[in-house]
Symmetry: C2
Subunit: 150 residues, 2 copies
């Protein structure tokens, strides 16, 4: 069984993502399928425009692309990142709490499972009266391949 699947899927597959959408009470439409297919398996960060470009020959409207991406973000299947270069883009996300390293040159995204947060700084914030809700942590660097290329 499962012949051809040699790797553990770190990220949700197309089917898993569609299933999640349904479970969350959303209808399964061709627009959503198109967006999910355009997004699944990506290993770099991508923008709304990237996805739009990939699905527009399937006559999926601009709005539906953004609406579906929002949905996927809400479900935690993809996340938003903000490269220092500016702008915002999306990345596929594994389902547990994690962070990303993003290559400044090619946009490659690597998941870093686990979380170094929780110590002194959180304590400081709490003693200043904050009730913490979450955090955003992103690393930036240059990936192996891009270092070679330079």
């Amino acid at each position: 069984m499962l012949s051809g699947v040699e790797m553990v899927e770190k990220h949700a597959t197309v089917n898993t993502m569609l299933l999640r959408l349904q479970e969350a009470g959303h209808r399964m439409t061709s627009a959503r399928r198109a967006v999910v297919e355009a997004v699944a398996g990506r290993e770099r960060h991508f923008t709304g425009a990237d996805v739009l470009a990939e699905v527009e020959d399937r006559t999926v409207g601009r709005a539906s692309v953004f609406r579906t991406l929002d949905l996927l973000v809400d479900l935690g299947l993809i996340g938003r990142v903000h490269p220092p270069s500016g702008g915002s883009s999306y990345v596929l996300c594994p389902q547990d709490h994690h962070h990303h390293v993003i290559c400044s040159k090619c946009g490659l995204v690597l998941d870093l499972p686990g979380c170094p947060i929780g110590g002194e700084l959180e304590q400081q914030a709490r003693s200043a009266g904050f009730r913490l809700q979450g955090h955003r942590l992103e690393y930036y660097g240059v990936c192996e391949r891009c270092q070679e290329d330079s």
Copy 2:
């Protein structure tokens, strides 16, 4: 001397910021002064539009506001943050490496001196071949005052 100054200034004052601009080889103009004055002393995050609104009665052009903000970011006097609610805004920054907690309700920004980063995750990124350049870490929560208000 220095009568009236009872507090240690955590962030650069108007004069300090202007001085930095000059040191960096930039001219001292009224547009820049206006932007710096609009920005100094803020304890919440603010957007380009906020600053624009505050200086436009001084006939400072839209473009100059954004150009000056960029300059201040380059000099490290202010930083960009990306609230989960979306969008991007600026915060005053102390001069050393630090992070922020941001109140989701009122936008209050608190500096957290120091940095919890450096351990396991960086190691993972390095062993995956990344040459790290930096990171972005922001905490989100609700400040004391907003908890009371709710």
